[in-house]
Symmetry: C2
Subunit: 134 residues, 2 copies
């Protein structure tokens, strides 16, 4: 197993509250979407209970979980519990959300490839009823 | 600053010795290049002095340094010292190498987007003379 230093990225900026609910998330862009790599990478920290809205990515997304416990759910499927070291592969146009567990902060690196096709399409929030019934 | 657990990925497999020199590197594939995300992600651990050959990526590459001290060098430019939290953006077809410092293990996540264009083109090793004169 590999050793990570415990403090490697700044916390970043507050995520926009119209696309996150249940608490605050923090986003630090590690690689902006600005060149022919057509790729954007960010580190996202979710406070306990915080999750993003249902959404899709035109070019897909990969999540690498680096700390805490959280959830990933695709529309119409059961939620998956995520913990550090887990990798989630999200195909283009799959409706999904991710976020923290009710009692744990949760952090992942989010990699968006193929940004020439688009980055994210935000949909409705994950309701308390949906979240609390997981 | 964000907290990482200290042990999140398995060490993986030995990297092929024809493309690495000065020591052993270990590669754990986190996301295989197998779907329409056109993206491959691996965690790479370099023992001290170990570096990869000069090489290029047809689709570019992003490195996220997670532990240790290492080097990144593009052909014809001075080497850069890398430490945890650093992100390196490598444009397509830029001749470069990366690896550990002489006395430090070095680990990065390597993200290869745009793999429909190709992944890697290996060139000649970084000689001891090149490495020792950094």
């Amino acid at each position: 197993m590999e050793t990570f230093n415990q403090n490697i990225f700044p916390k970043g900026e507050k995520a926009p509250s119209e696309y996150f609910s249940g608490g605050t998330a923090w986003v630090k862009i590690l690689k902006p979407n600005e060149d022919e790599l057509h790729c954007q990478i960010g580190n996202v920290i979710f406070e306990p209970k915080c999750r993003n809205n249902w959404h899709t990515h035109d070019g897909g997304q990969i999540l690498i979980v680096t700390s805490g416990t959280g959830f990933y759910q695709e529309k119409g499927k059961p939620a998956q519990v995520l913990k550090e070291g887990d990798v989630v592969n999200i195909l283009p146009n799959v409706i999904h959300w991710h976020g923290a567990g009710p009692e744990s902060e949760f952090t992942h690196i989010a990699i968006n490839p193929n940004t020439q096709n688009g980055v994210v399409n935000w949909l409705e929030p994950v309701t308390d009823e949906e979240y609390n019934n997981l």
